[in-house]
Amino acid sequence: MKEIVVVSGKGGTGKTSITAALAFLSSEAITLADCDVDAANLHLLFGVKYDEGEEFYSGQLAKIDQNKCKSCGRCKAVCHFDAITESEGQYFISQIDCEGCGYCARICPQTAINMNDNMAGKLYDSTTRFHTPMVHARLGIAAENSGKLVAKVKEKAREVAVKNKSDYILVDGSPGIGCPVVSSLSGADYVLIVTEPTVSGIHDLERVYEVVKQFDLEAGVVINKNDLNISKSKEIKEYLQKNKVELLASFPWHQEFSESLALGKIVGEKENSTLKPILIKLWEKIKESI
C-alpha cells in the first residue's frame, strides 16, 4: 500500500479536482483522505454526506470558576497570549486567545482555573458514490490544532486502507507550508505538487518544494492552466529541470474544470472528456515513479 499526497503551496491551483479525477479514473483500489481539514471539499465531488462522525478532542482550554476566584490577578500576569482580561475586579479567559498551555491553572493559588478538553473537530469514515472508502474531517468552528486533526485523518485512512486492501491512499492536502501540510506529508511515499504558471504559483511551488526536500520525499509536478502564461510555464519547467523534479503532466486552461465543478462532477467523468487521456497518463506516470 502506497501513500500519495497532493499539495500546492498556493491555494486554488486544482489539488482537489485532480485528486478526485485520479481516484475516479484509476483501476486500482483507492482509499481517499481529505487532509484539507480547514476547508474540506473532496466530499462535494463524491456525493458523500456527513454522517454522525467521531468527535476529535485535542488540546485544552482554561476556564475560571468565578466562585473560587479571589481576583489576585496572577493568572493574567503569567499568560503570554493576552488571553486573560480583567473587568471590575473579575477575571475572564478568552476561549479564542487561550493557547491551552495550562500555566495559569498551575499557579492559581485558589485552584480556580479548570482545564477542559477541547473538541477540535469531527472525523468521518465514509463511502463515495463510487463505493470508494473516504476519510475526511471537519474542524470545529474557530478551533485549533488542525495539524493534529490531519494526523488523525491519515491514521484512520491507513486503518481503512488496510481493511479494504487498498493499493493506494490518495491524500488531498491543504495550501501553505505550515503544520497541516507538514502533518499531511508525514509518512508519504510520493508527493504530487500542483502548480500554475503565475508569479505566485511559482513562488509558492518553490517554497513547498523546499519543505518536501527537507523530508527527503520523492515528488512530481503538474502544471495546471499551462497556457495561461507560456513564459511563466517555461520558468517552472526550468526550475524543475534544475532541481531534477519530474514534470508529470500539463493541463490547459480548460472549461471542463469549472464546468465539472459547477455540476459537482469529477473532471474526466463526462463522456468525451478531453482531459481524461492526460489524467490517465498522469496516473500511469505516478505509479511508475513510486
Binding site: L44, H80, G147, D204, E210
Partner: protein, 288 residues
C-alpha cells in the same frame, strides 16, 4: 481602521483584492498593506521592489542548562505540548522547539532556573517603501510550522509603524483555523473573498460561522463572477450578508495576474467594483 481580506478556500483572489484595493484607495487615503499569509506571501510580487527594510523575527523557546539541572522533572510535568521531555535514565532534558508554544511555564517554574528562554528565528518581516503606499510582509522560514507567532508580530510591527489614521489592509492566510483567526481577530472589518462554485460556497459558509463566532463585521466579494452567481447571491440574501462587489470572470485578468500586474484600471467595470468596495469601507469607517 483595520480591514482583513480573508477566505476559507485558497486561490479565490484574496491577494488580487488586497493589492488592487490598496492601489485603488491610495489615491484618496493613507494606506498600508500587510501580507499576513506568512506561509505563502504573494502581495510583494505585484509591486515594484524598490527598497526595503528587513527584520529578523524570533520567538522565545527554552534552552536546557545541564550544569544546574537537578532532574526534578517539573518541566516535563508542566509542558502541555510535549515540547520538554525528561529522559530519567540519561539524566537529560530534551527540548523540541517546533512543539513549543512559548508559554514560559517550564522556564518560570523550574526551581533551579535551568531552562532560560532564548531566541529562535521563525522568519522575516520585509518592509517595502513605495511612492503610493507601503507594504509589510511576514515570511515564515521554510521548516517552521507555526505561523501564528509571526502573524502576531507582523500585525504588531504594522501598528508600531503606522498610526490609526491609516487604512490598514491585511491580506490574510486561507483556511478557517488558527492562522486566519490570528490574522482577523483584531480587525474592524473582514472582507471574505469567494467564488461561485460549490467549493467556494461550502468554504464561505464555514468562514461566515467563524466570523460570527469572533463577532466580526464582514461582507462578501465574489471573484470570477459569471455563471452560477445565484449560488452566492441566494446565500447572502438568506443570511442577510452584504454582497459588496463582483469581480468578473476574465481571461484578461487571469493573464495579468499571472504576470504580477495590477488589474483595477483595466476597464470601467472592474474599476467600478473597486469603487464599491472603497465606498463600503468608507461607510463603515464613518460609522465607527
Amino acid at each position: 481602521m483595520k480591514i482583513a481580506i480573508a477566505s476559507g478556500k485558497g486561490g479565490t483572489g484574496k491577494t488580487t483584492v488586497s493589492v488592487n484595493l490598496a492601489a485603488y484607495m491610495s489615491s484618496k487615503y493613507k494606506i498600508i498593506l500587510t501580507d499576513l499569509d506568512v506561509e505563502e506571501p504573494n502581495s510583494s510580487l505585484f509591486l515594484d521592489k524598490e527598497n526595503y527594510d528587513k527584520t529578523i523575527i524570533s520567538r522565545m523557546v527554552p534552552h536546557w542548562n545541564k550544569s544546574t539541572c537537578i532532574s526534578c522533572g517539573k518541566c516535563n510535568e508542566v509542558c502541555n505540548f510535549n515540547a520538554v521531555i525528561q529522559i530519567e535514565a540519561l539524566n537529560e532534558v530534551v527540548v523540541f522547539p517546533k512543539l513549543c508554544h512559548s508559554c514560559f511555564a517550564c522556564s518560570d517554574l523550574c526551581p533551579t532556573s535551568s531552562l532560560p528562554m532564548g531566541r529562535e528565528r521563525v522568519g522575516l518581516i520585509n518592509h517595502h517603501f513605495h511612492k503610493k503606499f507601503d507594504l509589510i510582509e511576514g515570511i515564515l522560514d521554510i521548516g517552521q510550522e507555526q505561523a501564528v507567532p509571526l502573524i502576531a508580530r507582523t500585525i504588531a510591527y504594522t501598528d508600531k509603524h503606522y498610526s490609526t489614521d491609516y487604512i490598514k489592509i491585511f491580506d490574510s492566510p486561507p483556511g478557517t483555523s488558527c492562522p486566519v483567526i490570528e490574522a482577523v481577530k483584531d480587525s474592524d472589518l473582514v472582507l471574505l473573498v469567494t467564488e461561485p462554485t460549490p467549493f467556494g460556497l461550502n468554504d464561505l459558509k464555514i468562514s461566515v460561522e467563524v466570523m460570527r463566532k469572533l463577532n466580526k463585521e464582514f461582507g462578501i466579494i465574489v471573484n470570477r463572477a459569471e455563471s452560477h452567481l445565484q449560488l452566492i447571491n441566494n446565500y447572502c440574501q438568506r443570511e442577510n450578508i452584504p454582497l459588496i462587489a463582483k469581480l468578473p470572470q476574465s481571461r484578461n485578468i487571469a493573464e495579468l495576474y499571472s504576470q504580477g500586474k495590477l488589474v483595477y484600471r483595466i476597464d470601467p467595470q472592474v474599476e467600478n467594483e473597486f469603487m464599491k468596495i472603497s465606498q463600503f469601507i468608507e461607510i463603515k469607517r464613518a460609522g465607527k
